[in-house]
């Protein structure tokens, strides 16, 4: 792993998620999807701190995490649109995408449901002893769930190589975090377990990366878990079929914090990426997305017989 990731790569990764989701939203047969737009920096920053040995797990909001971890966009698109060319033969679809060979152990669309599974994956990694770490991204909603507190306790007792990444986008569907979790700072939930914690700006990909890297280094050394809260913004409603509860003003304020906008401006200002470079980058990403749409459009759906395969 390079000591510090190339900022242009991080920008590219975030742009890919954004443009991928914009294209997905235009697909007439997209069905119900949980979008990561606005929260790209969380997934991308965390993944920049992981290496090939490691595994990432996520909540159902998994498009950003899956793409950031490096699963080919055309495979992700095929899976989300229910095509057999997806890594899960179209059976996982949104919310349950998994590709362990790519270091994405999987999404699980039960709030808090992937936390203990991730701890189990990290136990396997610990016993294997190759220094692999596991990161699990979950929402602020999971902070009210017993699954988190039970898992924090065992992870601390056993010094599991596990990074708890709370992507705090501020809402559980319609419920603001202040009405869902009594703790003001969600990372404080780690305090009673003696787990090191950080709360960072989840719209700043470097802030996320640096904190995640610190926890990954700790976990790799065998010194146990960390809790990283990333304060982010969800740009769309909970899902493509959920009503938006925020006002236009609130949404506009959220979008002002766009992680892509900010990193792009910073790279332009410091001369890392000029207008021509940015334009080439966008074109690259758009081509990847076009290819994903073409590939998934041509890919077949499962046959009805597949409904009964791989059950037991």
């Amino acid at each position: 792993m390079p000591d510090r990731p190339d900022p242009v790569d991080l920008l590219r990764s975030m742009l890919l998620i954004r443009k991928f989701e914009e294209a997905l939203a235009f697909q007439p047969d997209r069905g119900f999807q949980l979008l990561s737009s606005g929260e790209e920096a969380v997934a991308v920053g965390v993944c920049a701190a992981l290496d090939d040995r490691d595994q990432l797990l996520s909540s159902g909001r998994s498009i950003g995490p899956a793409l950031a971890r490096g699963i080919e966009p055309h495979l992700v698109m095929a899976e989300l649109l229910g095509k057999i060319s997806g890594p899960n033969r179209g059976k996982g679809g949104r919310g349950h995408l998994a590709s362990p060979d790519d270091g994405f152990f999987g999404a699980h669309a039960v709030v808090g449901g992937n936390l203990s599974i991730a701890a189990g994956v990290s136990l396997a990694a610990q016993l294997e002893g190759r220094g692999a770490v596991v990161a699990c991204i979950f929402g602020d909603g999971a902070c009210g769930a017993g699954a988190l507190h039970e898992t924090l306790n065992i992870a601390a007792l056993w010094k599991l190589p596990l990074i708890f990444v709370c992507d705090n986008n501020g809402f559980s569907i319609s419920t603001p975090v202040a009405r869902g979790v009594a703790a003001e700072r969600l990372s404080d939930l780690a305090i009673p377990f003696g787990i090191p914690r950080r709360t960072v700006d989840g719209m700043d990909v470097f802030a996320v990366y640096e904190a995640a890297r610190e926890f990954a280094d700790v976990a790799r050394r065998g010194d146990g878990p960390g809790f990283l809260e990333c304060r982010s913004e969800r740009f769309a409603s909970h899902s493509t079929s959920t009503r938006e509860t925020r006002s236009n003003e609130e949404l506009a304020a959220a979008r002002e914090r766009c992680p892509i906008l900010h990193l792009g401006a910073r790279l332009e200002a410091d001369g890392t990426l000029d207008a021509a470079g940015r334009s080439a980058l966008e074109k690259d990403v758009e081509e990847l997305v076009s290819r994903a749409i073409r590939f998934s459009g041509e890919a077949p759906r499962p046959s009805p017989d597949d409904a009964l395969s791989d059950v037991v």
């Binding site: 595994q55 997806g86 890594p87 899960n88 033969r89 179209g90 059976k91 996982g92 349950h96 998994a98 590709s99 362990p100 060979d101 152990f105 999987g106 699980h108 039960v110 449901g113 992937n114 936390l115 203990s116 599974i117 991730a118 701890a119 189990g120 994956v121 136990l123 396997a124 990694a125 016993l127 294997e128 017993g146 699954a147 039970e150 898992t151 306790n153 065992i154 007792l157 791989d310 059950v311 037991v312």
Partner: protein, 326 residues
């Protein structure tokens, strides 16, 4: 084949010790499974032999413990997680039902969860939340296998097979079985497939189908019915999912009468599933009756417990009523 007389709990410990010896990746987790050796000493000796890394005491956190065992199995280990009483399995159904049972399916075969959830069912004076037999809840979950042995040899054989399965298995034992003894074959081979019922007592007039501790009640009822001129064939289901409908059906095709017996509740119970599946399979008329717990919680109060639990007398009465006028 030579055999040794073992108690049920010893049969479990022996199966586990042999499988842990054979498979380095097999890890046991649960409350009091370590130096304490398990609530019923069914893990006795494992901690001393395999150490704290592979025989792990866990906090009182069934949901996370089951999830961790399942996640670890999905990531390349093999795990057995002990849930002391089946009532507490309810706390961990989320990872079991929503994750493990569906992992293979939802990943299109990319992830398998070779884990055994071992838990103890049955009433023995410990009250309403330490007594339940809820194995029928699990029979309708695609992706789960459910095993419920009635004797030491089956506990040994079925646990060994379960520990070599590629998907999640719920292994249900029973508080009243641990102190029962029986001959257990001396072999390190796995020869007892899941999904095979056993005829434990042949007969011609009625088929009594039961699992776990209730098999002993069925045998007792059969012995009491014999002098009354009723020949009972007792079938031990052994595995509830997959259910060996073929063997049960063959028996009922001969006897034309089926009495199901279980310690759990009758509504949506093991018996109702067995009866329906047998009825679907046979094109001859059959008589069917079921015996189960009465529809009430099982108190620790001995009078109330005895009233709710099924016993041989109720099986005898139900069977005689079923066969009236035959």
């Amino acid at each position: 084949m030579s055999s040794r007389r073992l108690f049920f709990n010893e049969a479990i410990a022996r199966a586990l010790a042999e499988e842990m010896e054979r498979e380095d990746k097999l890890v046991v987790l649960g409350q009091d499974v370590g130096a304490y050796g398990g609530a019923y000493k069914e893990f006795a000796g494992l901690y001393e032999r395999f150490g704290a890394q592979r025989v792990r005491d866990t906090p009182v956190a069934e949901a996370a413990t089951i999830g961790i065992a399942l996640g670890a199995a999905a990531a390349g280990l093999r795990t057995l997680v002990s849930i002391t009483y089946m009532d507490f399995l309810i706390l961990g159904l989320e990872p079991l039902v929503n994750y493990a049972a569906k992992a293979r399916y939802k990943t299109g075969g990319a992830v398998r969860v070779p884990a055994v959830v071992k838990t103890t069912a049955g009433a023995k004076g410990q009250g309403v939340a330490h007594a339940q037999c809820i194995e029928s809840w699990l029979m309708g979950v695609p992706g789960l296998k459910v095993v419920a042995p009635s004797n030491p040899a089956d506990a040994y054989g079925l646990l060994k097979t379960s520990l070599r399965e590629e998907g999640p298995v719920v292994f249900v034992d029973h508080k009243r079985l641990f102190s029962t003894a029986g001959e257990v074959p001396e072999t390190n081979e796995v020869s007892m497939p899941l999904g095979k019922a056993a005829i434990v007592r042949p007969g011609t007039d009625v088929t009594l189908a039961a699992h776990s501790y209730a098999v002993r009640i069925a045998v007792e009822a059969a012995e009491r019915l014999e002098p009354a001129g009723v020949s009972c064939e007792v079938i031990d289901l052994r595995t509830l999912a997959p259910l060996d409908v073929e063997s049960i059906g063959e028996s009922v095709a001969r006897t034309r009468a089926l009495v199901t017996l279980e310690e759990g509740q009758p509504a949506c119970g093991v018996g109702s599933e067995v009866a329906f599946r047998v009825r679907e399979r046979l094109d001859v008329g059959i008589r069917v009756a079921r015996v189960a717990a009465r529809p009430a919680p099982v108190s620790s109060n001995a009078v109330l417990e005895a009233e709710v639990l099924p016993d041989a007398a109720r099986v005898v009465e139900t069977t005689l009523t079923l066969l009236e006028g035959r």
